[in-house]
Amino acid sequence: MITLKINGLEVSVQESSTLLEAARFLGFPIPTLCHMDGLSSYGACRLCVVEIGEGPKAKLVSSCTYPAEEGLKVRTASARVLRARRMILELLLASCPQSKTIQDLASAYGIRRQRFKQEHEDCILCGLCVRMCEEQMMAKAIGFRNRGEKRSIGTPFDIKSDVCRLCGGCMYVCPACQLRCTYNEPEKAICGGCANLTPPCIEKEHFDDMMCYMDPCVACEIKKD
């Protein structure tokens, strides 16, 4: 067992657990976006930041990847942590405003405006789908390609993958696409298509004007008529 202080409370947690696991086990909430039980930690979204150490040496680390250490002092909701999370959420809103997950988190953190250039990405590169596909489905059908601003998720050569199991797991875990399932008019939502139609690994050429990779997209089809 490792003894550490979380928000001033002295606690013991199992060895080899991360700060996120420790805090959640003890009931301190930490928001996450790119972390999911059953998948390895990746540390992409930084939403789970916590402050460790004291005084001038205090620093922000991502709790989902930081291991619990003996004697560590952790603050999960200090002013600095909250400021950092708000900034991260604002940036996420700037790139992916249609995500219900991100909207909910932003509203929970009291964000009322977004000061950056508005974009409409359909992916925040959290890598959940890639890990889902590799670690739970053992398929490795999709992965990261390119780098920098061209980084994207997809199949090699952008063609139908012959190792994809058509399980839909990648879409199930994606935090960026919830609103796709309602297109942009929630009252007309009728989907579920994601679970049984065509997953993203299918040839993408046909999908340029759709919100998601579904073919046919039920909601979009209705919208067109």
């Binding site: 059908a141 999709i142 390609r145 994207s152 997809g154 050429e205």
Partner: protein, 296 residues
């Protein structure tokens, strides 16, 4: 983001050259079982084909038990790898911060205008590929343009057409006569020992070396410059870049037996005897500029 994915998938159509499985396997064998060796493997394949053909990546993934996503991820991550065939000459304009403030964008625009292509593209005649980089580490000399490995500093717009012309001719040929590393040799067949020099055909102002070559069951003559360090050749056959040919002696007709492989592209190197002692080895791949002189 999706849009880009579409663009790249339509580009792939043109990228289907025949990839020789055994060739790729040989490269894989050299790096066998070493999982960290993926970059080295891809580098070698790129040296061979000039780019990374889709088929080659599939073979690498199949035979080395790496998943195709991983191989593709690495191949698209590094700027030095290209999944599209590239032109004969690679023009690279630096758009890094230092070059940028010294006017690199105008240089890049001028290159785009004169070549008629955008960065990342290849001219239809497959002569030039234009690329941009974000700093070449020669910031004080900016704007920097690199053409076929030759660095040009403080490039002005007015100099570009001349640079492209020189590139078309080949920088190496432009230097003949000025360079001490370039000197004439005369050679003979390693089998029958008869001279391969041909006074009737002059290249670079010297008698040329005459051999016969076969490619695709066609036979014809090839004349090489006898200047060590010059790459000028003439041939009656139409040989695409990157193909490996066989050399035959025009006197005894014997195929010149290749005893070693090119250190740059792994094609066989044909040895010829140098009068006065020694052997010169010439890479049998068209376009590969490797040759070696062992004087005895």
């Amino acid at each position: 983001m999706k849009q880009e994915a579409f663009a790249s998938s339509s580009d792939r159509v043109e990228a289907c050259e025949d990839v020789d499985v055994t060739n790729i396997l040989r490269i894989l064998d050299k790096h066998n079982e070493d999982r960290g060796g993926l970059i080295a493997i891809l580098e070698e394949i790129q040296a061979e084909y000039g780019y990374l053909p889709e088929e080659a990546l599939r073979i690498v993934s199949d035979r080395s038990r790496r998943s195709l996503v991983d191989v593709y991820g690495v191949a698209t991550f590094y700027r030095s790898f290209s999944l599209k065939p590239r032109g004969k000459h690679l023009v690279c304009a630096c758009l890094g911060t230092a070059c940028h403030v010294r006017g690199a964008p105008r240089i890049a625009e001028e290159l785009e205008r004169q070549l008629g292509i955008k960065p990342g593209e290849t001219t239809p005649d497959k002569e030039f590929t234009l690329e941009t980089v974000n700093c070449l580490g020669a910031c004080a000399l900016g704007p920097v343009v690199v053409i076929d490995g030759h660095y040009f500093s403080k490039v002005k717009k007015s100099r570009i057409s001349q640079l492209l012309d020189e590139a078309r001719k080949g920088f190496d040929s432009a230097e003949i006569g000025k360079d001490k590393r370039i000197f004439p040799i005369s050679v003979s067949c390693p089998h029958c020992n008869r001279s391969l020099m041909d006074e009737t055909f002059v290249i670079d102002g010297y008698p040329s070396i005459k051999v016969n070559i076969t490619h695709n069951h066609e036979e014809g003559w090839l004349r090489l410059s006898c200047l060590y360090g010059s790459y000028n050749t003439a041939t009656e056959l139409d040989i695409p870049g990157n193909t490996v040919v066989k050399f035959h002696c025009p006197h005894c007709g014997v195929e010149i037996p290749c005893t070693s492989d090119c250190s740059m592209c792994r094609a066989p190197m044909a040895p010829m005897l140098v009068d006065g002692g020694g052997v010169v080895r010439i890479c049998s791949r068209r376009g590969c500029k490797n040759h070696m002189l062992d004087l005895v």
